[in-house]
Amino acid sequence: MTEPREMIRVEKLNKSFGDLHVLYDIDLKVNESDVVVLIGASGSGKSTLLRCLNFLEFKDDGKIIIEGEQVEADTHDLNKVRQKVGMVFQHFNLFPHKTVLGNVIEAPIQVKGLSKKEAIKEGKRLLDKVGLGDKYDVYPSRLSGGQKQRVAIARALAMQPDIMLFDEPTSALDPELVGEVLETMKELGEEGMTMVVVTHEMGFAREVGDWVVYMNEGRIVEEGKPDQIFDQPKEERTKAFLDSIL
């Protein structure tokens, strides 16, 4: 068997906001096509970790290695790095002044320099894929939360990233809309997208996740295959957390 390709490696990552130390010596490895699920109570640093991975936040020290290259904010063109690492936010953050298709084609045209025609073709393909083939010209304000999040996923995919980060993509949705978004994410995972997902949807973590990481108060407490984490957690804290949410 060949070694799997390493897409992300984090070594001894530390991060503080002022006096508040939020990430302690985080080590993390994500291989190509893996779906890594980050779980943990609110405030444990999951979002901060994810945001460090595409440099919306800057680490204090430690290493972040993306596709074999150690990335440093002061020596690398972060805009280039971010093109490889797509992100989906809890609150969608769609551009309200642009139509659904306009949201999806914006960055490919402006950043990648795609022609409008190419961008539209690819944008429509992606919107069809996430089940929004009938909404190209609609403004985001007319969409349900689930539809908005699927547009956000298509928008990120339009940059053809190698890695996708999801920060609680279903937490802002009405319960009946959660399924459609998780389904889209599951398909993406099955197609071989490398994904890091922060979620409280344990069913998704178990079914789609290849690796589950449990964080508490800025530290990784335990990680392992989903079955191990959910059925035989080694750490008391993991057990307590799982009991509290299931």
Binding site: N79, G86, M87, F89, P96, H97, A107, Y139, A152
Partner: protein, 217 residues
């Protein structure tokens, strides 16, 4: 009443010239003011202390001195170095003045656009200036339309001060005709009607624009 009516119709042609000058002054100064305002709004959100102080200083000077003083300084003061035509002295003076208010309007509008918008754009690989140009400013401008419209209305009325440096815009016309006829009041009523009509039309136009921009809401 009959006298007023005949003065109103009799002075129509001259007032039309004044109106044309008022509109030119207002539009030219507004356009310059938007550029100035945008520039100082950028300084204010730059998070670079020196630039912020420069912007604050500008806004403080404009807000702290009467517009008529600003126009006089520009016209009489600068005339010693560089003979600046009345039209441009007035336009630049008005723009310099409105620019400070517009800077604050634009800064407020930019800051009202949530951080999530910037983050989404940056996460797609858009750089700072692209994010500002394509994502933040278009939304900020939409949000600023009512306030900008309001500032434009103030600018139109403020342009009457240009008469003090000899420009025969609307107010200048009414003043001249009043003094020539030794009968000021009907001419001042007449000019008031012109201003009211411009402001009415502009108010309607801004409302229409707001409606049009609201398609995405």
């Amino acid at each position: 009443m009959g006298e007023f009516f005949s003065i109103f119709t009799g002075s129509f042609d001259v007032f039309m010239e004044g109106l044309w000058l008022t509109l030119r002054l207002s539009v030219v100064s507004l356009l310059i003011a938007i550029v100035i305002g945008l520039f100082f709004a950028m300084l204010k959100i730059s998070r670079i202390k020196v630039l912020e102080i420069i912007a604050d200083l500008y806004i403080w000077i404009v807000r702290g001195t009467p517009l008529i003083v600003q126009i006089f300084i520009l016209f009489y003061g600068l005339a010693e170095i560089w003979l600046i035509p009345e039209f441009w002295a007035a336009s630049i003076g008005l723009a310099f003045h409105s620019g400070a208010y517009i800077a604050e309007i634009i800064r407020g509008a930019i800051q009202s656009i949530t951080k999530g918008q910037t983050e989404a754009a940056r996460s797609l690989g858009m750089n700072r200036s692209l994010t500002m140009r394509r994502i933040v400013l278009p939304q900020a401008f939409r949000r600023a339309v009512p306030s900008l419209g309001n500032q434009f209305i103030i600018g139109i009325k403020d342009s009457s001060l240009a008469s003090f440096i000899g420009l025969q815009e609307l107010f200048g016309v009414s003043n001249t005709m009043g003094s020539n006829s030794f009968n000021y009041l009907p001419y001042f009523f007449t000019v008031a009607i012109y201003y009211l009509l411009i402001v009415l039309i502009l108010t309607i136009a801004v409302n229409q624009l707001e409606k049009k921009l609201a398609v995405s809401d």
